[in-house]
Symmetry: C2
Subunit: 492 residues, 2 copies
């Protein structure tokens, strides 16, 4: 932990991030290339994310289910653009047994246990799920199907970063089936709203809702909706996607239903997902040079209480008071940790909980007991204040709400400051290179232009914002006419 403060965001953002993830005990690289280990403190945050998302999925009528990890290669090949999108990053199971080599005595693959058909570790589950939906859907009475799955997926990545891009990651994937295109589009949009609500009101990360360009669409989708966040280094991060899949998978897997009018029609599909990548977004949106800053709604514990006492009799007095406060706080559903380790100095503890992003720290010494006071420090602003302990539970409850709002507002102010509107190529380059952040510019709607801009600047079109203002203009690259601005940025 003592290592952490050596690197500031301004010195090397990327190294700051890697160190923070490790030093705050969130995750680490494993000895399996590209795969991470999510440590208990990091996993506790992920569990809170899961609980909040899961509740929202259920409130919008979805149920959880579980489909196989393995996808037969032939399934995978049925939807042409889907296989194009994922073939280059698939882990493939070819054998199902090991044995001891008689000569070397080493453990080797048993060549006799070769699979007739190779199995792909799911990079996403559309194919295996739609193969099942064929049997589940006969008539309009079987629709809609509203299913979500919490699962691990594997996409073989050459360059990985903890949480942001790992070969194996955890996620949820919703897969719904509908009788009409209209209903499927409504579902796609509803789930985008669920994600945006979660990002803003739970993670305290403001997001821009939009649709991807054709080039950036999910492999197999007719339309990909997304939420885009902005990190403190001015790079964008795609935080969640919701896809309108049209009838592509229904056609690939022959999933038809009998309409009320007694006709056979292909079923309409959506899929939508967020992953442990959100952990990266959370860390990069709020944290500072002292460590993590966690929004109260996702902090594994919201309050840490540190009793400060040198003599045993003081210690007993202080702890008695601490226990009273803890009881009152817990009665308000505030999660509290008491750190009464005796061999560790208060200063060391303060730094540790700063590093771990605990929203509120309360210190109580013998004088506080006498005066009925406590020292309260908030992590987000680093303000410290001695206050009367009367009504402490209400005060802390209120403070946690304030912190949640403040963290969001700070991120929002930053984001708003970092959307730059430009009208020429020079302004575009200048904004990307010198200011960073989102750049709002006219584009001629061709993939060629999009590709060339990416080649020259590394910036991509993050999204075409929903309900985008329509205005005539000229593409900053080609000069061709355009009807609206889109958001460019360098991105994770």
């Amino acid at each position: 932990m003592a290592e952490f403060k050596k690197i500031k965001r301004s010195e090397n953002y990327s190294e700051w991030y890697n160190n923070l993830v490790k030093d705050a005990d969130l995750a680490e690289h494993s000895d399996v290339k590209g795969c991470m280990i999510i440590k208990p403190y990091g996993y506790a945050i992920w569990e809170k994310m899961q609980a909040e998302l899961d509740r929202r999925f259920k409130e919008t009528g979805h149920s959880n289910a579980y489909f196989p990890l393995f996808i037969p290669k032939s399934f995978f090949s049925k939807e042409a653009s889907h296989v194009d999108g994922f073939a280059k990053e698939c882990a493939v199971v070819t054998h199902y047994r090991l044995k001891v080599d008689e000569n070397t005595k080493q453990i080797v693959i048993d060549p006799e246990a070769k699979l007739e058909e190779e199995l792909i570790i799911r990079p996403t589950s559309e194919t295996i799920i739609w193969n099942s939906y064929r049997n589940w859907i006969k008539s309009y009475r079987d629709l809609p199907i509203l299913i979500n799955q919490w699962a691990n997926v594997v996409r073989w990545e050459m360059r990985t970063r903890l949480f942001l891009r790992t070969t194996e990651f955890l996620w949820q994937e919703g897969h719904t089936a509908h009788a009409t295109a209209d209903e499927a589009i409504k579902e796609t949009e509803q789930m985008l709203d669920v994600y945006a609500d979660f990002a803003e009101n739970v993670m305290a990360v403001p997001v821009i809702k939009g649709v991807k360009t054709a080039k950036e669409r999910f492999a197999g989708a007719l339309e990909t909706y997304c939420i885009e966040g902005l990190m403190q280094d001015g790079k964008a991060l795609q935080m969640g996607t919701s896809h309108f899949l049209g009838q592509n998978f229904a056609k690939a897997f022959d999933v038809k239903y009998l309409t009320k009018e007694n006709k056979q029609e292909f079923v309409w599909a959506t899929s939508w997902g967020v992953s442990t990548r959100l952990m990266g977004a959370l860390i990069m949106s709020h944290s500072d040079d002292e460590g993590l800053v966690l929004p109260p709604k996702l902090a594994p514990f919201q309050v840490v209480i540190i009793p400060i006492a040198k003599k045993e009799d003081e210690r007993i007095l202080v702890l008695e008071k601490v226990n009273l406060y803890v009881k009152a706080l817990r009665a308000k559903n505030i999660s509290v940790k008491i750190d009464d380790r005796e061999n560790i100095s208060p200063g060391y503890k303060f730094a540790e909980y700063e590093l771990k992003g605990v929203p509120v720290r309360i210190a109580i010494g013998p004088r506080d007991v006498q005066n009925e006071t406590v020292e309260v420090a908030r992590r987000d602003t680093k303000e410290k204040q001695v206050m009367s302990a009367s009504d402490l539970d209400h005060k802390i409850e209120h403070l946690l709400e304030q912190i949640q709002k403040n963290i969001y507002q700070k991120a929002l102010d930053f984001r708003e400051e970092y959307i730059t509107t430009v009208n020429t190529w020079d302004e575009f380059i200048d904004a990307l290179e010198n200011k960073t952040g989102f750049v709002s510019a006219h584009w001629d709607e061709t993939s060629e232009t999009e590709e060339k801009i990416k080649e020259k600047t590394k910036a991509t079109i993050r999204c075409i914002p929903l309900n985008n203002h329509q205005e005539n203009g000229k593409c900053i690259f080609s000069g061709n006419p355009s009807t609206q601005r889109v958001l460019f940025a360098k991105a994770y």
Copy 2:
């Protein structure tokens, strides 16, 4: 659904089970050999199991974390008995990319994307976890480590059955590290108690706690503790195991700690797990020829209310009343579903919820509204009774408790009846063949005898019960002296 009643337990227990799992919408076979799809109703039960277990793990000081799906082959080979136990059922990843074959235009493995070292899909995670613990543990201050993981695992099975034995299954695996053997053994026993408490008080399945014989131990364990349940067909089912691993994995992965006395010592380990196999135990313990019987603590919804009305004005009156009752029931944290589908007959609905094992069914018609009554049917005993609706929430709350207890008692009475004490080989064979269930018999404590009994009868030693009564006797097979009886049974 209408198909279900065709097979009775007494006719063909195994077919009854398979049909029930499918017809009650719990799970189905996928097109991937040996892998199942857990459907929403089945998954909702599993989620309730997870929540109850997870709470107990956290209350006993454990945290969740997540380790990679992949295990390098070399890790796997480090603990000799471990690899012996699992090598024959490993799914092996050999490649990380697919491509389009230029001649056939088919999707094939890219031979250039061959892994240098093969990766095993985890069948259990001791090796990958202890490889990490080596870096996490330096001194006694870092101990104990109390971690649990919820994950999917793969063991290549030739003959599979839904929930009971599948190639991929879901489970939790606890992996703890301790400074002393004594502390590790206490942990092993504590987690066995957690499992037994969960099985009996949540699943309503009585279990026998014991230890496995050397032959039946987990690959790499010094002692395997288990809970064993008895299914309605007289076969035993291992429902959970808790392993004392000694220093085997610490030695294989070189995990040492500095003691308070400044010495380097190997760390002591435990691991413990339960899986979706518990779904099989739940189904087989309580269900009957009409369908599932679920204990209230695991039912996705505990009460279903079916309004019965033919005319629209009656319907409005009835639904008004139903909504009042639902509100009162939900205020008591009772989960309620209202089924007001109009095109489906009450009789059909009754059968459907019987099949799905809903603990309490309430029917309300216009006359009930007039009389302030409801018709209440309990799933476990099939008793039906018209009762006054006053205080309905208290009555139902009490009824659910009664049902939970009754289901347990019924299973316990059955289990007690099916433990047969025998003293000779003939009695042993007779009990196994004609009565089934557990058979309590003397055994000479050799693996040879154990193996021969298994060959001749298919019965295995399920466990040596904890705190087993010590008495002198003669082995039923060899006639050699024995100091205690052990429990034999045919098992899943």
